[in-house]
């Protein structure tokens, strides 16, 4: 019962978001970004409202959600760490630092810790390649990562 109420609430909020984007050409990605901003992920319960609003099938909407790395199908941790694993960061020892961070957090890539404190994701380039290695923690960019910076990031999410 509780779930049904929650789903109805998600559907109605999603419906309002769809309405707000109706005037756009190609509105689906902006809608999904707004949904993710609103809920922290793209809830399955939001898909019928999007599909109805855009005259698409639910499968089509699901296909788009699942194609893009950004869209989460479940909530992320309170902190989100994105670590660049692309070549410029590799050239500055980024992989070793990333491994260390994973060990400090006790996580593997794409995992959220059981206590919901933190999610860690790989990212392929933040455009900070001349101050590599780099990461983004809760939207803040960090360059020239070293062992101290990695330890500080881990402390920050544990606090």
């Amino acid at each position: 019962m509780l779930n049904r109420t929650a789903d109805a609430d998600i559907a109605s909020r999603a419906g309002a978001i769809v309405e707000g984007h109706r005037a756009l050409e190609g509105p689906l990605l902006p809608i999904l970004h707004s949904i993710q901003d609103e809920f922290g992920y793209v809830p399955t319960a939001a898909l019928p409202a999007i599909a109805d609003g855009l005259n698409l099938s639910r499968a089509e909407v699901h296909g788009v959600v699942s194609f893009y790395h950004d869209y989460r199908q479940e909530p992320a941790g309170r902190h989100v760490i994105k670590v660049c694993r692309a070549e410029a960061c590799q050239s500055m020892g980024g992989e070793e630092l990333a491994e260390k961070l994973l060990a400090l957090l006790g996580l593997d890539w794409h995992q959220t810790r059981a206590d919901g404190a933190v999610t860690i994701e790989p990212v392929y380039c933040l455009g900070l390649c001349a101050c590599a290695p780099s990461a983004m923690v809760d939207g803040e960019v960090i360059g020239r990562l070293d062992h101290d910076a990695i330890a500080e990031i881990a402390r920050g999410v544990n606090a």
Partner: protein, 518 residues
């Protein structure tokens, strides 16, 4: 009059503490009763000096860097506001060798102006190109762009003017200008720097493209990994609308043009133009077969110009100063300037805009000054994750589309990632395949399956399982991917792989069992 102090708001500067430096300057100045004005400019592109603080003096702008917030009291004690001497004083910004050696046409204002001040933009030559364009016929604009020799700076190097001509000639009630700002290549950040440091130049370039082709609507498709660029572009578009640079009658010319920013969702393949259009329309970013060309049937099936940020941002200077001026720079069929991005393990990493023709060696050894780690350079990857690895033996290759192609490489979006001698090229070849597997859109088999098989084969070579046979298999796989893939993702992944095999064969030899066991 207050003293103007510049602290970059570029993401590259923010990543190394620019906000803290700006905050420290404000609070220290207040304590001392100094009347200062902080301008959050773009970056000059010298990232090893970031955060680089500049102060306006009678002699010109004096730079300090790299500045930590804890340096601020000492800098003010040393008379930073008058350009006073200090260990971090770099002298006049314009005299810094890295900047002095450049030819900044596209990046003429980046790092100099306040990115969100249209007055500042105008005061530094902005909108002159657009004013010229308004006085011309669409065909004359297109001809001028064609004559300048400008080629697509996204990597493909297709002549921009020819694309524009196709759209100009195409019939359609609604045409579009789409800016490909999906800068996903590792080692590149020129698009990001322009969007954050001089967003009006991109807007101006897009408006000119609109007038030239009859398009009235533009989209900038950029990456969710670039929140600062998105914010800067959105603010600049608002300002441009208020000042009639965008709207129903651009600068009262009677030409309508408006634009908006669209944000991708973390798919590298959306940098491919047809996948980008699919994504913009709200679908999975799956590559379209060509023809039809986007110029005929692009966004929503309508005629669409799709150009890279740097191509569009180079148009205003071409309109302002003429095709001949621009074409005068460069070599061979590569005309004008190219903003080269030096990244990774480079001592002096940053943005270096120069005429085509400098050699890779000059850029890596001379301009970048080798590696940060001080170890010898083993390889450089040019052109992003789909670009070839070049060994020192090929450092005489000049920066030119054809010269790079002749050496089985590509300029791409002009990023150079420097690696020192600790790099293992088998690892890099494996990563190229792994990246392709992660990012493949899945439409064509060579890319979708080939990349996964490539990772497996690389792992077998690593384990020493029939390495000779596996190497032959990897080469064969690369051939299949190169000639059988629908787009550059699968088609160009063989570049890093094959260049690693060909130029660094020692890294692909089996490790003797005794050593491997250790």
């Amino acid at each position: 009059m207050s003293i103007r102090i510049f602290v970059p708001g570029d993401a590259g500067a923010l990543a190394v503490g620019a906000d803290k430096v700006a905050g420290a300057l404000v609070s220290e100045a207040a304590k001392r009763g100094l009347d200062i004005e902080i301008v959050r400019n773009g970056s000059r592109g010298m990232f090893w000096l970031e955060p680089m603080v500049e102060v306006e003096t009678e002699k010109g702008r004096v730079a300090y860097g790299p500045v930590k917030s804890s340096d601020v009291p000492g800098l003010l004690d040393a008379g930073l506001t008058d350009g006073g001497s200090h260990a971090l004083n770099l002298g006049l910004t314009e005299e810094i060798d890295f900047l002095k050696r450049q030819t900044r046409l596209t990046f003429a204002r980046c790092g100099i102006t306040d990115p969100l001040s249209l007055e500042d933009y105008r005061a530094h030559g902005g909108l002159k190109g657009l004013e010229q364009a308004i006085a011309m016929t669409p065909l004359d604009i297109v001809t001028q762009v064609t004559d300048s020799g400008l080629r697509g700076r996204g990597g493909a190097g297709f002549p921009t003017g020819i694309k524009w001509k196709t759209v100009l000639d195409a019939q359609g009630a609604q045409k579009y200008i789409v800016c490909n700002a999906d800068e996903g290549d590792s080692g590149t950040f020129a698009d990001r720097m322009i969007m954050e440091g001089d967003p009006f130049v991109l807007i101006e370039g897009m408006v000119i493209a609109g007038i030239a082709t009859g398009a009235t609507k533009g989209y900038v498709y950029t990456r969710s990994e670039y929140p600062h660029a998105i914010a800067a572009m959105n603010s600049a578009i608002e300002i441009a609308r208020k000042n009639n640079v965008l709207g129903v009658s651009v600068l009262n010319s009677g030409h309508a043009f408006d634009m908006e920013v669209r944000v991708g969702a973390g798919a590298y393949v959306c940098g491919e133009e047809t996948a980008l259009l699919e994504s913009l329309e709200g679908r999975r970013g799956i590559v379209r077969a060509k023809p039809p060309l986007p110029a005929h049937k692009g966004f929503l099936g309508r005629p669409t110009v799709i150009n890279n940020v740097i191509s569009l941002a180079s148009v205003p200077v071409i309109m302002e100063k003429g095709a001949a001026f621009y074409k005068d720079f460069g070599m061979g069929r590569s005309r004008g300037t190219i903003p080269i991005q030096i990244a990774g393990n480079a001592r002096h990493g940053g943005l270096f805009e120069a005429a085509f023709g400098m050699t890779l060696g000059e850029l890596v050894d001379d301009v970048a000054g080798g590696t940060i780690t001080g170890q010898p350079v083993k390889a450089v990857q040019v052109g992003g994750p789909l670009g070839a690895y070049f060994p020192r033996a090929l450092f005489d290759t000049p920066f030119d589309y054809e010269e790079f192609a002749a050496r089985d490489g590509l300029i791409g979006h002009a990023g150079i990632v420097v690696f020192d001698d600790s790099v293992d090229m088998l690892d890099q070849a494996r990563f190229a395949m792994e990246f392709c597997a992660i990012e493949s859109c899945g439409k064509c088999t060579p890319c979708r399956i080939g990349s996964t098989r490539g990772v497996e084969v690389a792992d077998k070579i690593r384990r020493g399982e029939e390495p000779e046979k596996q190497l032959a298999l990897l080469t064969d796989l690369c051939n299949t991917m190169k000639f059988g893939s629908l787009c550059a993702l699968g088609g160009f992944t063989p570049y890093p792989v094959m260049s690693a095999i060909n130029h660094f064969p020692e890294d692909f030899r089996p490790v003797p069992m005794s050593q491997a066991a250790e």
